[in-house]
């Protein structure tokens, strides 16, 4: 259950950070923000996948 909560929390964080109104802050130069957040999100998902319970990746 805890695992599911982590995944949903990451998803919601991504959804919020990649939409308005947060995206509006970077309105004039959003490209760099989007790329940096994208990488951060991949890192976050990777960490959650490593640290999660259940069968580990082979």
């Amino acid at each position: 259950m805890q695992d599911v909560t982590v995944w949903i929390a990451i998803f919601i964080l991504g959804l919020l950070c990649l939409n308005w109104p947060l995206l509006g802050i970077f309105h004039d130069r959003p490209f760099a923000y989007l790329l940096v957040f994208w990488l951060f999100f991949v890192f976050l998902v990777g960490r959650a996948a490593r640290g999660g319970k259940g069968p580990p990746a082979p």
């Binding site: 994208w38 996948a49 580990p56």
Partner: protein, 984 residues
């Protein structure tokens, strides 16, 4: 640039290479050395999502609309975070029921509905064929660009299309069972994913750093151009915001519901654990393939001055710079992006059309002798038909639309499956009627808002007709349905189709009562309750019945094989199968048939053939009620267990965190995945820094051999900073490996032990003093006497020189003896360390005996020693010497009037046994249990500290050995020391 026939030859060569790769992968799979069964190939195969739309269309979109192209990749990135929750569940259900397509999944979920299944298949075929056309359009257009041949592209496109259809048939439809995995196909797709990524990165680097001076240069130049607005989020208008969100949602749905994604992510998944890597590898792939989209789009705009032809900037920019071979590489990258999509999509659509539309229509002819061959041929024909329809779309309507426009229409179409699919996984009340109504309404909106305007644009429909008047009315404007403005074209279609779809689905589901069949399937999907699977299996059947039914659809050979495999696995003859086994056989047969003709149809076939009796129907109803009731109870129990588990988890976490020792756990590659607070204090390294780092780099004094030592073991390790740790290593029982390491700082304890040992030595020296003073006193008295005689010696005496020489020799002998005694004492009294070294234990005992021999009491003792050959032991020589000394001095104390002292040393298995036996006064049985207690002594006050035997006990235990005592009052005492023979 390149002659058309050269380009054509290169394309054919590439396709042959692809055939070769797929063939090798299939051969390896057959040999049991799968190239496909790993998370990297799985992740790369998911990149079939990136088609020619990604390769060419994204740049086109970026050059005309700015950053909104990114939503198509950010959506799947977000969705990947939910894969472990949603996709893992879909994979599990699909595998358990041998489901091979989305239409099958939905039909099976909603009471094995053939109508719903057929509707979903029809929507997918209509919605996705233009997307296949898009790929063929890209192949044709780029062929014309690279060969400078404005004609002939269509003919080449047809040949390539047929080749791709052939590839899909050979590697995807060689057999009827669609549920089996296609290793060759998956490996070829993974290979193509690499090709397109490398090609795109190459052209990106060339354009960004070869043509321009990097990102900053391109962005600065575009800032000074008329295209400066492209860097912002499309002017920030209301439409831009809603369209951004709409595209994000669309792409999130597309990554789950596009038929090719379902094929790759669900049907071709070999191991559910691969998802754990794919959740971050796939988004990383999307990130990499998008880094250079904006620079290439801006470069194209700056170089050409116009967004015209922006869809092919990726190819035209390097061509314009004279980069012939780079252009060819780019062309091949785009080609690989298109081909992988066409192959997988045509296979997925054909399976869908076959199982959900064609098979239900043909099922009446199943008694035909060659039925299995006929349906396999039809499936192959459908593959060819699908790619050919795509080709027709590309050469007729495709030219009126951009790549992105066509792709998004397909995204909108598959997003129609979302309400029934996703809610159907978690909501048992969802009904077949609701799903059908919602899908129909959503499809109508999709067709009206996106396809009708496209048909107008292509000139197939005229605006002067009735439909034209309808669409031009403000209320039914396809771009602002019901007068709702501000959503944008895609947002408008998505909103209204989803709104109607969802409303009808939920509303009708709540208003109607689900059938028994729907209830059973809902249990199977929502609760994953396998008991539901067995509910309709009550009819009396025999193995021959099951084989007969199966043979009609998959052929007699395969049917017979299924039965034989089943009975062979149970080592029982087919007629002797029990009722339970027959149920299992029927389920297995149904699974095999599902792979060939779809889950819904196969269930229906078995249920039609094996009709339930009235009694069985009644049993079925009561079983259903029981399961529902027990599920309710199970949920309550589960909640309670969860609560207890959470409490236990928190409790143990608190204990581990507050433990005064360092605790860390590492995986099989020695990377830290847990690091407690104690560890932070001991190592001086924070948890954030330590996590995911190799432990042997964080604690370099912790040797790899010590960590990977196999079974649980313990060792004392000294750091270069003179800290002393007791390291306990316990391997996990989990086959994936890893160990728990517990670190205890014993620096202070070791120092105290050393001090105690030193004190004990001094005490021993005190006990020896009387004997030793005598040993030193006698020669000193002799020396004194000789010196006096020498002083009184008459120089004129003739015997003088000789006497002097004799006296000096005697003095020298006495001095050497004194010197030896003092050296022995000095050696014994020196400060020892706690290091263990390989030592000869007999030599240690001998040295100890030499020291004790100076004690005058030893002269009254009959000493006897019997030593066998002993291998070197890993011991601390100083500590062991102290043990022996304490035992010998105790023996002397026990025999003040003299007696026998016998010492034996022998090897016994993995141990060395040392016995010190005296014939002294012995020990009272009442105090026997306390002799090893600290400060316990039977000697008079001032004669003993009570620490000697206690130190012996601690020292022997630290060496992994034991010390025991046997004594009889008045007869003597035997101390037995056992020390392990470690590998030195």
């Amino acid at each position: 640039m390149f002659a058309p026939y050269n380009v054509f030859f290169i394309l054919l060569s590439y396709l042959l290479l692809l055939f070769g790769i797929a063939w090798v992968a299939e051969r390896q799979e057959r040999r049991g050395r799968s190239l496909v069964n790993n998370p990297y190939v799985y992740s790369l195969s998911l990149a079939v999502y990136c088609t020619s739309w990604t390769f060419y269309g994204s740049v086109g979109r970026a050059a005309t609309s700015g950053l909104s192209f990114l939503t198509i990749y950010l959506g799947p990135t977000l969705m990947a975070a939910l894969w472990m929750v949603v996709l893992a569940r879909i994979v599990r259900i699909a595998k358990a029921n041998r489901i091979t397509t989305i239409s099958d999944f939905l039909g099976f979920r909603y009471g094995k509905s053939l109508l719903l299944s057929a509707l979903v298949a029809a929507v997918a075929v209509v919605g996705v064929i233009p997307y296949i056309g898009l790929q063929i359009k890209a192949i044709i257009s780029t062929f014309e660009i690279i060969s400078h041949e404005p004609r002939g592209g269509a003919a080449m496109g047809l040949v390539i299309t047929l080749f791709l259809g052939g590839f899909a048939i050979i590697f995807g439809a060689r057999r009827l069972d669609a549920s089996e995995r296609h290793g060759g196909l998956v490996f070829a797709v993974a290979f193509e994913s690499l090709v397109k990524l490398v090609a795109f990165l190459l052209v990106g680097v060339f354009v960004t750093y070869g043509v321009f001076d990097g990102f900053a240069d391109i962005f600065a130049r575009i800032d000074r151009s008329p295209f400066a607005g492209l860097q912002s989020l499309e002017g920030g208008g209301e439409t831009a915001y809603s369209e951004w969100f709409a595209l994000l949602v669309l792409s999130m749905m597309a990554i789950l519901f596009l038929p090719r994604q379902f094929q790759m992510a669900v049907v071709e998944n070999c191991d559910e654990r691969h998802l754990r890597k794919a959740v971050w590898l796939f988004p990383l792939y999307l990130f990499l393939i998008n880094i250079f989209v904006l620079p290439i789009a801006f470069a194209g705009l700056l170089l050409s001055g116009s967004p015209q032809g922006a869809d092919y900037f990726v190819l035209s920019v390097p061509l314009g710079q004279g980069m012939k071979y780079l252009s060819l590489m780019v062309f091949l990258g785009g080609f690989s992006a298109a081909t992988s999509m066409v192959i997988v999509e045509s296979l997925a659509l054909s399976t869908m059309a076959m199982n959900s539309i064609v098979m239900p229509a043909l099922i009446g002819f199943h008694e035909h002798r060659r039925f299995p061959t006929i349906i396999l041929s039809i499936k192959r024909l459908i593959i060819l038909a699908v790619v050919y329809l795509g080709y027709l779309f590309a050469v007729s309507i495709g030219e009126f639309y951009s790549l992105v426009d066509i792709g998004l229409k397909s995204f909108e179409a598959v997003a129609l499956f979302a309400p029934a699919f996703l809610l159907g996984l978690y909501w048992k009340r969802g009904s077949r009627t609701g799903a059908i109504a919602g899908l129909c309404a959503g499809f109508a909106v999709w067709f009206y808002t996106l396809i009708i305007p496209a048909l107008f644009k292509a000139g197939i429909l005229t605006e002067s007709g009735a439909l034209g008047r309808l669409t031009s009315s403000g209320f039914l404007d396809p771009n602002a349905l019901f007068g709702l403005h501000g959503l944008g074209k895609w947002g408008n279609s998505l909103f209204w189709s989803t709104f109607l779809n969802l409303t009808l689905y939920v509303g009708i589901s709540l208003a109607t009562r689900p059938s028994r069949e729907e209830e059973i399937q809902a249990l199977l999907f929502v609760e994953s309750d396998d008991r539901a699977r067995e509910l309709p299996l009550g009819a009396s059947v025999t193995a021959a019945d099951i084989e007969g039914i199966l043979a009609q659809y998959v052929g007699a050979d395969q049917a017979s094989g299924v039965i034989q495999d089943f009975v062979a696995a149970r080592a029982v003859a087919a007629p002797e199968l029990s009722v339970q086994e027959l149920r299992a056989l029927r389920f297995e047969a149904e699974r095999v048939l599902s792979g060939a003709i779809g889950s819904s149809l196969s269930s229906i076939i078995f249920e039609d053939k094996l009709v339930l009796s009235e009694k069985e129907r009644s049993e079925l109803s009561s079983s259903l009620q029981q399961i529902t009731a027990s599920l309710r109870l199970s949920r309550q129990e589960l909640a309670q267990t969860n609560l207890a588990l959470s409490y236990l988890q928190e409790f143990s976490a608190n204990i581990i965190e507050s433990a005064p020792v360092g605790i860390t756990s590492v995986d099989s590659s020695l990377r830290v995945n847990y690091w407690n607070r104690g560890m932070e204090l001991l190592a001086g390294i924070g948890r954030e820094v330590a996590l995911d780092q190799p432990v042997d780099q964080l604690l370099p004094w912790l040797r790899r051999e010590l960590i990977l030592g196999g079974a649980q073991h313990e060792e004392v390790v000294q750091t270069p900073a003179q800290q002393c740790f007791r390291v306990n290593v316990s391997p996990f029982k989990d086959p994936s490996g890893g160990v728990v390491i517990i670190l205890e700082d014993i620096t202070e304890k070791t120092k105290m032990e050393e001090q105690l040992l030193q004190a004990s030595k001094l005490a021993s020296i005190g006990r020896l003093t009387a004997g030793i003073s005598h040993e030193i006193g006698n020669p000193l008295a002799s020396i004194s006497s000789l010196v006096q005689e020498l002083a009184a010696l008459d120089d004129s005496s003739s015997e003088g020189p000789e006497f002097m020489q004799d006296s000096l020799n005697a003095i020298n002998g006495h001095l050497e003896r004194i010197s030896r005694i003092v050296r022995s004492l000095g050696d014994f009294a020196r400060v020892s360390t706690s290091r263990k070294v390989a030592s000869d234990i007999r030599e240690i005992f001998h040295r100890t005996t030499e020291l004790v021999k100076y004690d005058k009491r030893f002269r009254r003792i009959r000493y006897q020693a019997e030593f066998e050959a002993i291998p070197p032991l890993l011991v601390n020589p100083d500590q062991i010497e102290q043990v022996f000394l304490n035992l010998l001095l105790n023996a002397l104390d026990a025999m003040p009037e003299g007696g026998d002292l016998r010492v034996t040393m022998r090897r016994q298995g993995p141990e060395v046994v040392v016995q010190v036996e005296d014939t002294g006064r012995g020990i009272d049985p009442e105090v026997m249990d306390r002799v090893f207690d600290p400060f316990f002594t039977t000697k008079p006050l001032g004669k003993g500290t009570g620490l000697g035997l206690s130190i012996c006990y601690g020292t022997v235990r630290d060496h992994g050995g034991t010390i025991t005592i046997k004594s009889m009052k008045g007869s003597g005492t035997v101390f037995t020391v056992r020390l392990p023979i470690a590998h030195v």
